[in-house]
Symmetry: C2
Subunit: 276 residues, 2 copies
């Protein structure tokens, strides 16, 4: 199996890909969209994409891909991994002399408070990935990077802190996107995206009620602007169950006419995640 | 009246403050939190804060303030203004020589596609506000800034483009936060925030149903991670009506016991916004 992901080597997404399959051939790409395109043109079988972080919420870049009405891939799995943000850099630096800390904006945001107390004078600088930040700090004194410790080791960098996340309960949920569909396992989730006619009384509840009445668990609802008009949204909803379960099929069939447009993003085994 | 806002002079928030009251004394602050604190310590009567942009969605910094369980201010008004992002800089520059474009991250995000076609070689650089970006470009050749044209005029900057927003329907919704409450006008909105016990079947629908059954319009739902555990959220909901309307009071009283914790953020006259 070939897995595409947001590279370079050593990103948290790579850790998720290894967690999903330790034997797959891993193919790093420059952006999440490029990783998904790789599946569409058969350069890869699955793309692994971060979708939600416990601290920062939705990963917008992935939601933008999922809100595409003619998406040719579907969600075939979810993977949840703990996120540890190591603070690394060239050896023997004094923290007072650090001028910049480089990382992916999501990682910088997840370490905001710790950075303010550890290196109050350092300016956060955005990088394309945690691994790119680590590669850049390896060549620049007076800088540090936040990233996956796995990317720091091969470069002989010093680890100043093994996990400077503001919240040690930090986890990220990833999805696998592929062309195949996943069969029922008895403990599945289904992800949906829909839009609605603007500002109809109670219309969102009309869409959700067919699930609630059947006691189908709604584990997530997320709204994103359609970019057409203030106050109009894409809604992303995760429900407990498989789209081929009769009860879920019935609920979706009842909900769909109450939306403007609804896509089933996929059904996949539920990851059994606990508080770390 | 004294209005605090995210400064410096010339931000879009300042435009919203002027739209709200052309005679108020305007007091710029360094962060949204500082502007809200100014009201809490009676340095200002109202804080004006951006809450939602038509292209980029929620303004997280403001939501983080509103999810505080012991908030001492409430929402007393909403203001919607069109957002035009001017591209400005020192006069007589050639666009090919521009190396960096400075602005607030929200503004950079809202002009992403236009920037890629207009100045493909320029690197986007985050600034604390659009006005700070304009102040910095006024002293740096080979740079441009994206911001409010009102901030560029006093600095004799050249306007390279009056609006490079990717989407010309761009609007931002602002809220006014103050210690007073606002009386019923007959066309009001009420904002709520709540959390729920994790993963209860249909529980979100249980909270929303009391509004839907009374045909109370739900104009917005937004979820933000609690930062405690993956899959637990703050829900921000806007409904049509005033908290002192009997029907709204009844619906809130019915919904509240189904949440873990619910705060009424305020009731305020609805802004009559149309597609621009």
């Amino acid at each position: 199996m070939r897995i595409s992901y947001l590279g370079p080597v050593g990103t948290h997404t790579e850790s998720a890909a290894i967690e999903y399959s330790s034997t797959a051939q891993l193919k790093p790409y420059a952006t999440v969209q490029d990783a998904v395109n790789a599946v569409e043109v058969d350069e890869a079988d699955l793309a692994i994409c971060a979708i939600e972080n416990a601290l920062e919420g939705a990963v917008i870049e992935t939601l933008i891909i999922l809100q595409n009405q003619i998406l040719s891939v579907n969600i075939t799995a979810e993977i949840v991994i703990p996120i540890k943000h190591a603070l690394v850099g060239m050896p023997k630096q004094s923290l007072e002399n650090i001028t910049t800390v480089h990382s992916h904006p999501q990682a910088l945001a997840q370490c905001r408070e710790s950075l303010m107390s550890l290196v109050p004078n350092a300016k956060p600088v955005a990088a394309l990935s945690t691994a790119a930040a680590i590669a850049s700090t390896a060549q620049n004194p007076n800088t540090l990077a936040i990233g996956n410790i796995r990317a720091a080791n091969p470069k002989s960098l010093h680890v100043y802190n093994t996990d400077i996340s503001d919240n040690k309960n930090n986890q990220t949920r990833f999805i696998a996107l592929g062309k195949n569909t996943t069969r029922q396992t008895g403990d599945d989730k289904t992800s949906l995206v829909f839009t609605m006619a603007h500002d109809m009384p109670g219309s969102l509840v009309d869409v959700l009620s067919p699930f609630a009445r059947r006691k189908i668990n709604l584990s997530k609802i997320e709204s994103r602007p359609t970019r057409q008009q203030l106050g109009t949204y894409y809604f992303f909803v995760d429900i407990h169950g498989h789209k081929d379960d009769t009860m879920i099929t019935d609920a979706i069939n009842e909900a769909q006419p109450k939306t403007q447009w609804l896509n089933i993003l996929g059904s996949y085994p539920r990851w059994n995640y606990q508080t770390p």
